[in-house]
Amino acid sequence: MRKFVKNYLSYTVIGSLAIILTIMGAIGALPGTTLALLEQSAIAIVLAVSLNMVVGFLGELSLGHAGFMCIGAYVGGKLAVLLSSSLGGTNILTVILALIIGGLAAGLCGFIVGLPALRLRGDYLAIVTLAFGEIVKNIIENSEFFGSHTGLRTPDFTTNRSMRFMLFTIGAVVVLLTIFVIQNVIKSKHGRAITAIRDNEIAARATGINVTKYKLMGFVVSAVFAGLAGVLYSYSVQSIQAVTFDYNYSIEILVIVVLGGMTVNGSIISAVLITALNNILQTKLGGNIAVAKDLIYALVLILLVIYRNAPSLKTFREKYNLGNLWIKLIKPKNDPSKVGEDAVRWDVVPTKISMDEVLSTDVIIDTTGDNSADIGERGGNK
């Protein structure tokens, strides 16, 4: 049961939600605006989960996620436009083809950019990916083929209800596919190599991990799914403009990932919450939303940090911790110190070390080692 919950929780929740909503949509219980909101959530989830692959598991900061999304959106959108005369723009085959081609195009760009860029680290990689996003945006904005600055009109899915509905179903399938692939990559030997690089790159090299290969693997997988999200986006809005995919958008995705605690399930939850928040702000505040949005994002982030760390809220947090609640629900008599092989974070990390424990451990502070001779200081920064 535990294992099942741990591995398939996100699939089951999202899958069943998708089915329920599909049925609700089919009988006409969902208004069009709600469907649009759900589509936006689906896109945000795909983006957040795929960016989390780079930020959360590979441990590198990428600010070019909107760039990959932009490539996916334009390649997929243009393909649908080109195919609209022969196959029909809103045909399901066209959509699937567009998803495949758009995803592959973004993945290819990820490969080309990642090959040189992933030799860099930290801030430098962030700058390169940021530049990449801007370059993509500007090239597409100035290309006649992609409709230059007037944007690209993609097939209209809103004309008829069943069309809109198909798009939503496809979105749900893409979300499930994203979670499936990324979870499975992470929970395999390849994923272990990727997290090993995050934890200690020097040790990973010495343990025989081809660091460039695995970094590239993570980066490309992330780019492919950003491309898929882009294709979905281009269909859900009918008219795409390159200006949308600026670096603010990348930052927004990053905020979602960071807010989600850089885990897969957290990214899903925070993607839905942020989309909902966005939507509420848009409907309540109307016109001048851009300023207020950033302000409220910042407020939410600050409040969360305070909530996470405030000493006066400690007992509250421990009592109503979502993780602890799950454990209580699943196994009431379970000893939290004895957990399964693939233990999830919240029950492994000790909350606080008591002074007795500190005194009883055998740790002796190393004063003899000349740490400057170790490669961390010199060789590590090559």
Binding site: V185, K189, R192, D199, N210, E341, G376
Partner: protein, 282 residues
């Protein structure tokens, strides 16, 4: 023009195809043999003319005062630095100039002076990272994503092998704890277990006893002896604890200011007046 083309060709060969070292193998009865190995950082000769000859199943010590270039030699042997002079051979195979992961695949594994574990991963997974490159655990990305039967087979086999390794190091009960939560002595052991998981022919230990209490050191001596017997392993280690060295090593090399001061039998080398002078001064 012809000269320019030659320049381009040599650039492509050295920088892109990495053919600078025409690696020639030699006939050698030693597990590790270095020939005039050295590196200079600018004008600083961090290590020069280091000739090590390590026989199979030997425990070999590399000692010297602080800043003598011991860790530099380790970094040369594992490909962290590319040697500016000389070559080194593992069982006669020239490994000079290979990248770190390739050297590890060929059979040199190491531990670090300040422990470098994968802190946010469980103990068993730390070892499984080391196992991943062995040919019997081959499984490509496609098979992992779509959970084909081979993925499960390989994962299970890896987990069993990792547990087996951890049992030898008496870490099996800790296998589901995060590596960063282990006590110091166990972290050391885990680092050695992870290095052994890559199935090396030569194990490099960088100050394994640093920061350990006498009890832990004694435990470590036993562990190293067990490694030598069970895995038929050749071990090269750096250490400052002379009791540890003289009790464990068959032969040693003493370095000072990047050069070899003395080498050979442990007792004789330690009683060499030059060595005593280097350590005590005068």
């Amino acid at each position: 023009m012809a000269k320019f083309i030659d320049n381009v060709k040599s650039f492509v060969n050295t920088k892109i195809l990495k053919k600078s070292h025409k690696r020639e193998n030699i006939e050698s009865s030693y597990v590790l043999e270095t020939k005039a190995l050295g590196i200079t950082f600018g004008g600083l000769k961090a290590a020069q003319n280091v000739n090590l000859k390590i026989k199979k199943n030997q425990i070999y010590g590399l000692i010297g005062p602080n800043g003598a270039g011991k860790t530099t030699v380790f970094n040369l042997l594992t490909g962290v630095y590319q040697p500016t002079d000389g070559e080194f051979f593992l069982n006669g195979e020239n490994l000079t100039g290979l990248p770190q992961d390739k050297i590890n695949h060929k059979g040199i594994a190491r531990t670090f002076q300040n422990i470098r574990l994968f802190n946010n991963m469980t103990v068993v997974r730390n070892v499984m990272v080391g196992l991943a490159n062995q040919p019997e655990f081959k499984c490509n990305l496609f098979e992992s994503i779509f959970r084909l039967p081979r993925h499960f087979k390989v994962e299970k086999a890896m987990r069993e092998k990792a547990k087996e390794l951890l049992r030898i190091f008496d870490l099996e009960d800790e296998r589901n704890n995060l590596a960063c939560n282990l006590p110091y002595g166990k972290q050391r052991k885990l680092e050695i277990a992870r290095a052994l998981a890559t199935n090396p022919k030569l194990l490099l230990l960088d100050e394994p006893a640093a920061g350990m209490n006498p009890h832990e050191t004694e435990d470590l001596v036993n562990t190293i002896k067990i490694i030598r017997e069970k895995f038929d392993m050749t071990i090269l280690l750096i250490e400052h604890d002379m009791k540890f060295v003289s009790g464990l090593c068959d032969e040693i090399t003493v370095l000072n200011f990047g050069t070899v001061l003395a080498e050979g039998d442990t007792k004789a080398a330690l009683n060499n007046p030059e060595v005593i002078k280097a350590y005590i001064g005068g």
